[in-house]
Symmetry: C2
Subunit: 258 residues, 2 copies
Amino acid sequence: MENKKPLILVTNDDGIYAPGIRALIEVVKDMADVLVIAPDKPQSGMGHAITINSTLRINQLVNEEHYKEYSCSGTPVDCVKIAVNKLLPRKPDLCISGINHGSNSSINVIYSGTMSAAVEGCIESIPSIGFSLCNYAVEANFEASKKVAAKLIAKILQNSLPEGVCLNVNIPNIEFDKLNGIKICRQAKANWEEELDERKDPMGKSYYWLTGVFKNYDHGTDTDEWALANQFVSVVPVHIDFTAHHTIPFLKKMDIEL
Amino acid sequence: MENKKPLILVTNDDGIYAPGIRALIEVVKDMADVLVIAPDKPQSGMGHAITINSTLRINQLVNEEHYKEYSCSGTPVDCVKIAVNKLLPRKPDLCISGINHGSNSSINVIYSGTMSAAVEGCIESIPSIGFSLCNYAVEANFEASKKVAAKLIAKILQNSLPEGVCLNVNIPNIEFDKLNGIKICRQAKANWEEELDERKDPMGKSYYWLTGVFKNYDHGTDTDEWALANQFVSVVPVHIDFTAHHTIPFLKKMDIEL
């Protein structure tokens, strides 16, 4: 049996030059054939956006035998679609996204370009993981995150993941030795209380910045928020079937007729 | 007991001047206090994107006692956030999005700005419904869709929806009398096989259009794709807890340790 290196697709939403994706590339570069494609500019908060009303540009930055790197004018989800349908020689063994500068725990999974790239990998039937460090700073320290990512990547390459499920991994912003371990969790019930920060432009017309405060309403000890607050790495399995199956009987009983 | 009119928030992703949102406004204008806020340009495929790296503009177009209308420079999700946090006098009784020009069935729920607006309403604990007509044309006929929307809106105003669940409603592109009824469904297992359409710009450099073919791999008769193919309106309950709860035991058995 051939002992081939795995093929790994790497992307993110902070852009091709973000320190977080450089950290993730370091984790996998020597153990796999690696193809990197990431947005040419920051794409945080892009969620599952795709580019259908305008065009896309792809720019190859590195072309080595076992390592290829591209930037793309589109969103993180565009990057995965382009990789799968144009750049990769075969379906990769793993799609990893991140390491994001900032948490993508609980409801942030839905706004996150990092996680949307992992979800798109999952839609393409590729085992996929999004990694996020709970530190928004450009100069965040990714040393602990790299060790965590290496462990999880090895485990998922070995065990794969259930069909239709990817992982949302969040890492507390502390040293590796201070981590209490890894918790498999559910997404906490939390959301953002937005505030629109109103300003005046030089012509005196109003414009706004979307800001907000994150509120966790969930007191469970099985959530990602609890894990992170207690120095655990949180791992939430995320699925791509959005159907609220348990509510179908309730809705059927409503007898909605035309 | 005061017999107050309900308060309804209306948005979409095709933009404030799309015929689809005009049809939806006609359905509710006389039976409710209505606040409309929609993107000032088409925002199809924006998924759950929010505007955090640039600023937002809001423009009031109509200011009547029971009917207010705004355009916004942001995404459909931005529109809902701005309405809830700045424009609405209280939490609305319903958030409706659409009527989208084109289907948002099965996996399209994840790319759809229309559905992402409904999902954001749901995150804000507002009963929310996204409506889509299976016809992409600007000149699509919304007469049947208006009747369907009126029925569903009345029912949900009366019964509300379970917490954390909104509805993805897709309507076949046929006359009302030809519809076979309404089916409560699950999201079909389907996806897009993308193709990148490569072109050359006047300087000879490549650029791409993201195109693709929709593939339904699901033979179930309880799916939205089945319903639509059989002249039923499809109603899929969509939840905002992305956790794949059933896979937590499997992942725990993997014994991932640091």
